[in-house]
């Protein structure tokens, strides 16, 4: 029914429609109302991720192991959650540096290294070739199948088909022609392909629609909904294990996890994903919608995969039909002509979308990062002097597109037969995953160097070649199988599929583990061992700190150039119209006059031209062109060293300043403390004077009162008179004592006391003091008891002073004892190197608060002297403590309210060898 020419005609009509959409979108863009300035179009264009692999291969994979197709879409969902952090940074960097491709990004990051750009391009091309062959296989298979409609006949083995009769060759050539017409109409690679993006977004809709249509038809047309499909599968003994597939059917959990990781990298580093996500991004903010719309798209296109897979298995149980073709063969088997055509168109959409974007991205890389740097360096070509290079650039890109598609075809002929669609695609995923360390490391770690990136990429790529590509070629019979089974030269440890004896994993997991270990290890190690050049260091800062500041990169460039020379260079690569516009805009924004043959371009101007040029031919080629066209005095290492030396000197100065300021702060704090102490002392002095004068006034007042009475009345009785004179004498004594004590205090505090040092027997001191006080004790009826051992070691002290201390303690004790019932106990003892004297009374005792302050100046138990209740000056204990402490001893009190007080003093025993004598 379906004639070959009908299918071909419909295919071309569909491609024509795409072309029309692209043409319309370009026209709209030229008019300033671009279609692609929309987050929804952006999100749909990201769905170029879903290729023929998704469209045909997912069902094939699901028919083999149930859930094995899902990590490919769950991984990207997880990665996209990180895009707000990672992709936003890449977008910002790429816009600032006018990045044209993945290779350009890596080369630019590591010091605009042409070598690195070339390596990335080579890896990308070799790695992507299997992926392109997958698309060719899918399209040509679906075409061949559809030709047989309504019979379901699997395509013949390829080896039997001559090259020229192979449909995939014609598919490849047709796609090449279409891509060339589509993607290389503009030269300026950094500019957006409005038409292409619009067409891709449209294709994403078509493939989703076609897939959902066939899914709904199978689920609800052939069967009675999801439940029915699964119930029938569960009833089938061979299919039942696939309902709990992670128990080994899908290669277990390690396979699941590694596939997830692999596709996390793929969504970022497949050249076509980088192209649509980064290069074609018009507004950073579009990312916001894409973060959830694109995962939603992936969810939607996967919902019907399982019913299709189980439906296919139930329909074609004998295994005559390749599961990769279920999507198409199911409607064919049920005689649904229109649906089969729709599926074919959907598959064509998925494949062409991928091929167009991928080859455009790869051709840009091949041209800018592989061919141009080489051509520009070949002086014999005198390329740098040619007037117009735009034609050459376009020629290279077109050639690259044809070459890449033919490589895909060759791979298909060599190895495509032996593998299912998904397995072919995974080989490519593993290849682009090798870019992850260099790129992710490059945007977050300044320490990554060019050498590190090169070592990491080459190591990872080498392992990939050995463990994935080589086995794929061997399986297809192009290399001896003995290598796979026994290892090279019979060394079992080096078997490509069980490297170092690691077995039990599927091929992709095995290859990923070894290549990632090698890649990351080499990247980090070589980065740490090598030191970056000035240019690398600059680019590293520019990339890693892209959010931190608007970097003035021009600052690092020194030299002079004529604006006219720069203009000529730019014209050669982008054509006179674009160059004139660029120069005009720049001159206007800076207030310069252009055209002007004598205008000298400053560093910023040169930088501007270089980024413009980079937009057309990539960063490394632009660098070469600028270097050849202007007299550049690039920053030499010496200059860099000088700048660094200056910087480190500044750092040193700032450290010194910090130190000085902290010293100043410390000094200020000291001064403040001293000032506080002085203020406090001043206050204490005032207090002291007022207290002393108060103390002096009390006896003076009574002396004056009684002497005035005596003077005024000469007729006072003798007894009365005598009594008054007694009082006057006593008060005078008190006054004298007070003044003596104040003088003592002053002397002690100023350190002017003259101490008469001698050997002192504390027993004698005690008995002398008690004797001196005996009169007082008798008067108050106080009982005194002295306990002392026979012999007490001598202490070194001033004997008069010690008597003064003891008299003070005894008079205090007497003062607080109740008259008639008082009891004072004095105990002399020694222990260790101290002689101790305790004076215990049975007075009212002291509270804890009183104990704390009783040794202060003018403080007395039972209130202070200002209230004037108990007798005494309030200086005695203060002076006593000073005296005792002067001789290295201690004076303290132990007491409880109501249980008397015990004042104790202890003094160190005099050392024997010091002997007797005075100072």
């Amino acid at each position: 029914m379906l004639q070959g020419w009908v299918i071909v005609a419909i295919s071309f009509a569909y491609l024509g429609l795409l072309f029309a959409i692209a043409y319309y979108a370009d026209k709209r863009a030229d008019a300033g109302r671009s279609l692609i300035v929309s987050p929804y179009i952006y999100s749909l264009s990201l769905a170029v991720y879903a290729t023929a692999w998704t469209f045909y291969g997912s069902v094939g994979r699901a028919a083999r192991d149930g859930v094995g197709f899902l990590p490919i879409y769950i991984g990207p969902t997880l990665m996209i959650a990180l895009w707000w952090v990672v992709m936003r940074k890449i977008l910002r960097i790429s816009k600032a540096n006018r990045i044209t491709s993945l290779a350009d990004f890596v080369a630019s990051r590591y010091g605009k290294s042409a070598l690195l750009g070339g390596v990335v391009t080579t890896i990308a091309v070799i790695g992507i070739v299997p992926y392109i062959s997958l698309q060719l296989k899918a399209v040509s298979n679906s075409f061949t199948l559809l030709l047989q409609y309504p019979a379901v006949v699997m395509p013949a083995n390829l080896a039997a088909v001559p090259v020229l009769h192979d449909t995939s060759l014609w598919v490849a050539l047709m796609l090449a022609a279409f891509t060339i017409a589509f993607g290389t109409r503009h030269l300026y690679a950094a500019e957006h392909h409005h038409g292409m993006v619009a067409a891709i977004a449209f294709e994403s809709l078509v493939k989703l629609l076609a897939f959902v249509a066939v899914g709904v038809w199978v689920t609800y047309g052939i069967y009675n909904g999801f439940g029915d499909v699964f119930a029938r599968a569960a009833a089938d003994q061979t299919l039942r294990p696939m309902l709990t597939p992670l128990d080994g059917v899908a290669g277990g959990y390690s396979s699941w996890v590694w596939l997830t990781i692999l596709s996390m990298f793929a969504i970022m580093f497949l050249p076509r994903q980088f192209q649509v996500t980064v290069i074609e991004n018009v507004e950073e903010n579009h990312l916001r919608k894409a973060i959830w719309i694109f995962p939603l798209y992936m969810l939607a296109i996967n919902v019907f995969v399982l019913p299709l897979a189980f439906g296919g298995l139930l329909h074609f149980p004998a295994g005559h039909v390749d599961p990769d073709t279920f999507v198409l063969t199911l409607p064919m088997f049920e005689k649904q002509e229109f649906l089969a055509l729709l599926v074919f168109i959907g598959g064509l959409s998925a494949a062409t979308g991928m091929v167009i974007v991928e080859t455009i991205a790869l051709s840009t890389m091949v041209c800018n990062d592989l061919v141009m740097p080489v051509l520009l360096r070949l002086r014999s070509l005198r390329l740098a002097e040619r007037r117009d290079l735009t034609g050459l650039l376009l020629g290279i890109r077109r050639g690259a597109i044809i070459l890449i598609l033919l490589l895909g075809f060759v791979y298909f002929r060599l190895a495509g037969e032996a593998y299912a669609l998904v397995s072919i695609g995974l080989i490519s995923f593993a290849a682009v995953a090798q870019f992850a360390p260099a790129i992710l490391g490059g945007i977050f770690w300044k320490g990554g160097t060019r050498r590190g990136a090169l070592c990491g990429l080459l190591t990872g790529f080498g392992i990939w070649l050995y463990t994935l590509l080589l086995p794929a070629l061997e399986r297809s019979g192009w290399l001896p199988v003995s290598l796979l089974e026994h290892g090279p030269f019979g060394i079992e440890l080096l078997k490509p599929l069980e490297l170092f004896g690691l077995s039990g994993l599927d091929e992709t997991t095995h290859a990923m583990i070894w290549s990632m270990i090698g890649n990351v290890g080499a990247y980090v190690l070589a980065s740490l061992l090598s030191s970056p050049t000035a240019e690398e260091h600059r680019q590293a800062t520019l990339f890693v700190d892209v959010f931190r500041r608007e970097w003035e990169s021009a600052r690092f460039w020194r030299g002079t150039a004529s604006a006219q020379d720069l203009y000529d260079v730019l014209t050669r690569f982008v054509g006179p119209a674009a160059a004139a516009t660029a120069f005009g805009e720049y001159a206007q924004s800076k207030g310069l006059r252009w055209p002007d043959p004598n205008l000298i371009a400053d560093a910023e101007f040169v930088h501007f031209v270089e980024t413009r040029l980079a937009g057309a031919i990539g960063a490394s080629s632009a660098r070469i062109m600028i270097a050849s066209a202007v007299r550049e005095e690039a920053l030499t290492l010496d200059e860099m060293r000088r700048i660094i030396a200056e910087a480190s000197q500044l750092v040193m100065y700032s450290h010194m300043l910090e130190q000085k300021s902290s010293e100043l702060e410390a000094a200020t704090a000291e001064l403040r403390a001293a000032n506080e102490r002085l203020t406090e002392l001043d206050r204490l002095k005032d207090e002291f004077i007022s207290t002393v004068t108060h103390e002096l006034r009390t006896p003076l007042t009574s002396i004056r009162a009684f002497s005035e009475i005596l003077r005024a009345d000469p007729n006072i009785e003798l007894a009365q008179r005598r009594k008054f004179v007694d009082i006057i004498a006593k008060e005078t004594e008190r006054l004298t004592r007070l003044i003596n004590q104040v003088l003592d205090l002053a002397k002690i505090e100023s350190g002017q006391v003259e101490w008469e040092l001698s050997r002192v027997d504390m027993k004698e001191v005690v008995s002398d003091s008690v004797a001196a006080m005996s009169q007082v004790f008798r008067e108050k009826g106080i009982e005194v008891a002295v306990h002392a051992p026979q012999q007490v070691p001598a202490v070194r002290a001033d004997v008069d002073r010690m008597i003064q201390v003891l008299l003070n303690l005894l008079s205090n004790a007497a003062k607080f004892c109740q008259a008639g019932r008082g009891k004072i106990e004095i105990r002399v003892s020694f222990g260790g190197s101290f002689v101790q004297v305790d004076v215990r009374d049975n007075g009212p005792g002291l509270s804890a608060e009183e104990q704390a302050m009783i040794f202060d100046k003018f403080r007395q138990a039972g209130g202070d002297t200002l209230t004037g209740k108990p007798q005494g000056t309030g200086l005695g204990l203060y002076i006593s403590r000073h005296i005792v402490e002067h001789f290295g001893g201690r004076l303290w009190v132990e007491s409880r309210p109501g249980a008397g007080a015990c004042f104790s003093l202890s003094l160190p025993v005099e050392q024997e060898r010091e002997g007797d004598g005075r100072h």
């Binding site: 859930v67 899902l70 990590p71 769950i74 969902t77 997880l78 990665m79 996209i80 959650a81 990180l82 895009w83 707000w84 952090v85 940074k89 909904g225 999801f226 439940g227 029915d228 699964f230 119930a231 569960a234 309902l243 709990t244 597939p245 992670l246 128990d247 959990y253 699941w256 996890v257 997830t260 916001r288 973060i291 959830w292 995962p295 939603l296 969810l299 919902v303 399982l306 959010f547 931190r548």
Partner: protein
């Protein structure tokens, strides 16, 4: 970036949540015989968790304009 904004923090947390939901111990819990609304438990779980994750991502990224 010195500090991640709130939106970025939430999205990173969601990525971690996804890594837990679609990984060994949790997946093994659902890798059992049985049906939920006629759909095998494991498949029902994966698609439900996936849809939930996408919904949360949409909330996190769109919130606050």
């Amino acid at each position: 970036m010195d500090q991640l904004d709130r939106r970025a923090q939430r999205l990173v947390a969601l990525c971690m949540l996804g890594c837990v939901l679609f990984n060994f111990p949790v997946l093994a819990v659902f890798n059992v015989d049985g049906f939920v609304l006629g759909i095998p438990v494991l498949y029902a779980y994966i698609f439900a968790a996936w849809a939930l994750l996408i919904a949360l991502m949409a909330l996190a990224v769109e919130e606050g304009g």
